[in-house]
């Protein structure tokens, strides 16, 4: 029974990792209706940023957030302005090709700069365990989970309580109408993509504290992010939380109760079943690609 409890806690924390990874992805889709295949590579860049800040400058990954998040914000602006903007009004397939192209370019750049070697940060608190009664919790996973919830809270506040958030929501409801109301669409796109990149940056920095770093690391997570956001409802922040927790719990519980080899099969089967029964995902609205973020 204790083991089941341990597996549930591990599943929730793993869900936190997946939420963290998926937030920026779902935000960019929800507001901009851009499926950013390069989101994983932004996470990868942040992981390397955190790694090199620690190795070369002795800067703790958590402290490095102060440096990395502004860089990611700027990188997001640059990517949208020079790479995605030219295809914003093109068919969706063109955007897909552009972001896949960007994904490959960023992977190749990382490979050239840092080689294909797996890297790992050795930081003292990565080995720290927190005891919740008889349950053991990894400090870094717990930290990721808390940060995931905090970032979600900030995103919701941004969307619901600020003027720019209102503009973002207006944009995702009806781009033309938003434009007619005087909203500077381009500026909102820029801001959204930059915030999405910041989310990727935060995810990358936290992942670097317990996961291995390599040029194609983003590819592994982007597949899970797709499952998480599609399960929860494309473009839906609340959906990303629920989707992340579901995938994390299924992966860990099925891994413990059946076999780890079966874990991805099981969560993907559940994913397919949910999409058959509810094509827009658990919290999505039919035609989410037209409606966007809620």
């Amino acid at each position: 029974m204790l083991e089941i409890g341990q597996a549930i806690v591990a599943g929730i924390l793993l869900g936190g990792v997946y939420i963290l990874f998926s937030l920026g992805f779902t935000l960019v889709f929800g507001v901009g209706r851009i499926i950013n295949f390069a989101h994983g590579e932004l996470v990868m860049l942040a992981m390397y940023g955190s790694y090199w800040a620690f190795i070369l400058g002795g800067i703790d990954p958590i402290i490095s957030l102060v440096i990395i998040t502004p860089i990611m914000f700027l990188l997001g602006l640059v990517i949208l302005q020079f790479i995605i903007k030219p295809v914003l009004n093109a068919p969706a397939l063109n955007q897909v090709f552009v972001t896949i192209g960007l994904m490959i370019v960023l992977q190749s750049v990382a490979l050239i700069l840092w080689s294909a070697d797996f890297r790992m940060l050795v930081i003292p608190y990565a080995s720290k365990i927190i005891f919740l009664g008889p349950l053991r919790v990894s400090f870094t996973l717990l930290l990721s989970f808390i940060v995931a919830l905090f970032v979600t809270f900030l995103l919701v506040c941004l969307l619901k309580l600020t003027l720019i958030g209102k503009a973002m929501r207006a944009l995702c409801q009806d781009r033309l109408a938003a434009s007619l109301m005087g909203i500077n669409i381009h500026r909102i796109y820029l801001f959204t993509f930059a915030i999405g990149s910041v989310c990727a940056g935060i995810a990358g920095v936290l992942l670097s504290t317990f996961y291995t770093i390599f040029p194609t690391v983003g590819l592994h997570f982007i597949i899970i992010a797709f499952v998480v956001v599609a399960l929860g409802g494309l473009g839906n922040v609340t959906g990303a939380i629920v989707g992340g927790l579901i995938v994390g719990l299924i992966e860990t519980l099925s891994g413990y109760l059946i076999s780890p080899a079966w874990a991805p099969v099981i969560y993907l089967m559940i994913f397919v079943i949910v999409l058959i029964l509810k094509p827009a995902g658990l919290f999505g609205i039919v035609g989410a690609e037209e409606v966007g973020l809620k």
Binding site: S115, F118, M120, A126, S254, P260
Partner: protein, 375 residues
């Protein structure tokens, strides 16, 4: 030259520099063209580029069995010698490739060595017969992880060891808690874990510590040995590792080991502790011997012929290996049958080779293994 893995590259580069200082090969300077590949597709494209655009005569590498698998097929197509230094999947030499040679041993022998230690060292120390020893086992599902487990399983069946649970999982698994809980549940005497992605071994062990998995002995497959000490500090003591030969073997059983250690430290400013640099260095030494012994070092047929004639006894190389290539028709065609996989144990923060006897530096200790935090 194709390389993958920093240590593999360092050993290979050191071998080149030292040989060039001695006049190269038949008076010709050895030159490398390097290529790095993250996956099989890239290794295939890279090998094609190295051969067709860079005109390389011999491909030397790698570190990863998966990459070698793809790149060596390209080399075979172009009749270019593929001199594998480190990758060890048995499958590599079971494809009947004419131009493929592998100087380290096969992955199965890593698993075999580990189980030999469990049978001959750990079981007696626990006062049990081998058939009474219980094991929980985990391997990652990459080519190397699977092959190492195949070797282990062979000995497990021969010796009648009891495997209570065996799991295979992806090396990219984010959190290993669920699989560690499964390994822990039957309370085994020994936990055996191996992964082709070496850093993954550290993450698995970290999860084992997090979940308080405390068997009487921990036997690991290949690992980034320095990283184990760095991450686990005192808690690394007592852990067994079966891996390629490293500088911790007895120099009396390894010709040239002293020179390797000195030259490595001189060139890179630190001791070369990881096995991969030593093994790639030794593999290159054998290649130089082969190339020196033939009339035309650019002729793949002459290289093949000379490689099959190699007969260096155990202890001839800095790894303690000999060199004898399994001939065509042999199930291990192209593989060095005079290689072996030592087992080391971490004792007081040092790596002590305990197997095989001719390169051993000490005896196994800390059996049964104290729990995490008390080592």
């Amino acid at each position: 030259m194709a390389v993958f893995g920093e240590e593999t590259w360092k050993g290979t580069e050191l071998a080149r520099v030292l040989q060039n200082k001695k006049g190269g090969i038949q008076g010709r300077e050895i030159q490398y063209v390097s290529m790095d590949a993250p996956d099989i597709d890239a290794s295939v494209i890279g090998a094609e580029r190295l051969i067709t655009r860079e005109g390389v005569k011999i491909i030397v590498g790698t570190f990863s069995s998966s990459l070698a698998m793809g790149a060596s097929v390209v080399a075979e197509k172009h009749r270019v010698i593929y001199w594998e230094t480190n990758a060890w999947s048995d499958e590599l030499t079971q494809r009947g490739l004419k131009y493929f040679f592998r100087l380290s041993g096969p992955a199965t022998s890593v698993g075999e060595s580990a189980m030999e230690i469990i049978t001959n060292v750990i079981a007696p120390k626990l006062g049990k017969r081998p058939s009474d020893i219980t094991i929980s086992a985990l391997n990652t599902d990459d080519a190397s992880g699977v092959a190492v487990w195949d070797g282990a399983e062979k000995v497990i069946k021969q010796k009648g060891l009891k495997v209570l649970i065996h799991e295979a999982t992806s090396p990219k698994t984010v959190d290993f808690t669920s699989v560690i809980l499964r390994l822990k549940a039957p309370n085994p005497d020994v936990v055996y874990m191996t992964s082709g992605a070496l850093e993954t071994q550290v993450r698995i062990l970290r999860s084992a510590r997090d979940q308080g998995l405390n068997p009487k002995a921990f036997m690991c497959g290949p690992a980034v040995q320095e990283l184990l000490i760095e991450v686990f500090k005192g808690d690394a003591n007592g852990i067994f590792i079966s891996d390629l030969s490293s500088t911790t073997i007895n120099p009396k059983g390894a010709t040239g080991l002293k020179e390797f250690k000195e030259e490595y430290a001189k060139m890179y400013g630190k001791p070369g502790l990881d096995p991969r640099s030593l093994v790639s260095f030794s593999s290159c030494l054998v290649l130089w011997k082969v190339l020196e012994s033939i009339k035309n070092p650019d002729d793949p047929e002459q290289i093949r012929e000379a490689a099959y004639k190699l007969d260096l006894p155990l202890g001839s190389l800095p790894t303690g290996y000999g060199a004898k290539i399994a001939p065509p028709g042999d199930p291990m065609m192209g593989s060095n049958v005079a290689a072996f996989m030592p087992v080391v144990q971490i004792q007081d923060g040092q790596f002590v080779t305990i197997y095989p006897e001719h390169v051993a530096m000490g005896a196994a200790k800390m059996i049964p293994l104290p729990p995490w935090g008390k080592r």
